[in-house]
Point group: C2
Chain length 360, copies 2
């Protein structure tokens, strides 16, 4: 199989240290480690403490390991919504979150705009939802929601829980977690790890809400309900046999990120995004799909390539690079470029130069 | 970390080929492979076709990849039970399955016997359950349910769906799947793989039952409900970003098992179980926890060690072997020994000889 440096937005290029960590894991017996052993507790602890430091997470937050971000959508609705959630829908993933609320028998509402559009000012929510769901970074369209717009929602609706999908952006966004209630991401995006693990952050209000629903006799699920996850997390354990290797590898990559420094990662992310958006602005044939600069994602950059799409793919592949396809109906006319910590500045400069070679 | 050959019943010793397969996986870019790529479809197909051959699975069965066997308990109750399931409870895991039905708001019933006991003749089920749940191999106690007793339940209750937990026994049991409806297992047991993947087998009746509940307006979950899993499986895909690497490694180990031959694996399993049970029968200080030979598990063998437990652990560790602790309240007085395909005859002979050295 010919291998390319992978710009797909997830699963994406592995973080460059992962293969070494995997070798160490085998040497240390991690793949056959009991999840009820002291050594596993230490791994759980190292991974969560590293994440707390990396994300600057307040003490009241708990960190849970879940099968996937898709599962986290379901667990958020089950545990935190009795009847009404409100969803900002501007792409395939925010839409799926809304639909899951419907499938679980709730009565969600939504504000919906077209692909490529966003919510620079939030939206007027006239109802009184229990939970507001925002997709801070829409992986399907490359639209980000500005942090100030997210915080404004919290200020306007202090009694609603605020759930933030940061699947394809963390650790880039420097969230003020005191203005949010639950946040989640997947390891196969910006953390550059093999797929098979979602990370769910919840604050005290989420724990209280799940308890409240349970005391009302509402089913909030079983092994992965918040009380069960919380009880186990106190012992640095999970309710089920988890993806032990995934939790171990995440912990190691988090340590790598900490050594590199999250501020350096953020600055490099901004530099790489800037040179690619600049190229798309100047390019005679290509352009940024997201026109409003305030909404342009730094971590998933979507290019309108129109009739040139296939040609761009082939040119990049000839240089050893694999762009991500456009999502859904944009598969033949757009390309998506992940800008994660594993994508080095030099790789991005090569990407920009290569796009620049396609002129007519 | 000092490493021992691992007899814990799961996560257990890795199958001896796994590390090589992992290296190949990295070389081929599997850890960063898109789950919507043709190459992933081919992996899904290879793994499921291999499993069909290994298990001799009838055509009507579908194979789904789920986060864990714990999740499968939940999905079985959500998708296949409107109100009443019936559970054979004789250990911690069969009990947990029953409790999950309660947590999901159903009204399960149970037949319950003490740890170490079983159901040689099934039980008189006077109600009319929608689903009967049996734990064919109780990992906590080492009690197996004879296949004929399981088939008899189906003959007596042809309208109920029959769900079989074979988490820590497959591929050893040579099931007649036409007499069952849904079966599941975990990869970190007898398949000798890193934890983080459950495999769920369902027949046409399960698919019809989930559709029926859905058409009644009952919530059967979202992304991992049977209709969603089924639709995606037709395209060799999963609804969410799955544990791609886990599915790949499972496929490779299944091919290894096929080359070795499932009948040879079964015969070796029986030989190894026979010599360990024989040793426990003759031993002056140790004995088999499960007294009824018809109920003794071939794949998880539990020894009563009483006051000698710690001494046995230390002696085995000095020989490079790690036994599994007894489960729950038996932690200090029992040991559990996994007898999986990765545990070679020579390893079992060494285990038996080492136990034999502890005489007074």
């Amino acid at each position: 199989m010919s291998q390319h440096f992978n710009f797909t937005p997830g699963p994406s290029q592995l973080y460059f240290t992962v293969e070494d960590h995997m070798r160490t894991a085998f040497r240390e017996g991690i793949p056959s480690l009991s999840h009820r052993s002291k050594k596993f507790d230490a791994i759980y602890r190292e991974t969560t403490e590293g994440l707390r430091e990396l994300l600057n997470l307040p003490g009241g937050y708990q960190i849970f390991f879940i099968g996937s971000a898709t599962e986290i959508w379901e667990r958020i609705i089950q545990n935190l919504v009795e009847d009404r959630s409100y969803h900002f829908v501007n792409g395939s993933f925010s839409k799926r979150f809304f639909e899951i609320a419907q499938q679980l028998g709730k009565h969600p509402q939504k504000a919906e705009v077209a692909f490529g559009q966003g919510f620079p000012e939030g939206a007027d929510i006239t109802s009184n939802p229990e939970l507001i769901a925002v997709t801070q970074n829409e992986t399907s369209t490359g639209v980000s929601m500005p942090l100030e717009a997210i915080y404004k929602l919290k200020a306007q609706h202090p009694d609603a829980l605020l759930a933030v999908d940061a699947v394809s952006s963390l650790p880039y966004p420097d969230f003020d977690y005191t203005k949010l209630d639950t946040v989640f991401f997947s390891v196969q995006k910006a953390f550059g790890l093999p797929a098979g693990l979602g990370v769910w952050l919840v604050n005290e209000k989420c724990i209280a809400k799940a308890d409240q629903l349970l005391s009302k006799g509402i089913s909030i699920g079983s092994y992965h309900n918040i009380p069960s996850l919380y009880t186990h997390a106190q012992k640095f354990q999970t309710p089920e046999t988890p993806n032990v290797l995934g939790i171990y590898l995440l912990g190691k990559v988090v340590q790598d990120f900490l050594r590199r420094g999250v501020n350096i990662i953020r600055k490099e992310t901004e530099y790489k995004a800037a040179i690619l958006y600049q190229e798309l602005e100047r390019h005679p044939l290509l352009s940024a799909f997201v026109k409003d600069k305030a909404l342009q994602s730094k971590t998933v950059i979507v290019a309108d390539c129109g009739a040139h799409t296939e040609r761009v793919i082939q040119h990049l592949q000839s240089k050893g690079m694999q762009p991500g396809d456009g999502y859904g109906s944009f598969k033949k006319t757009q390309l998506r470029f992940a800008n994660f910590p594993t994508h080095a500045k030099e790789q991005f400069e090569l990407l920009v130069d290569s796009l620049n070679e396609i002129r007519d």
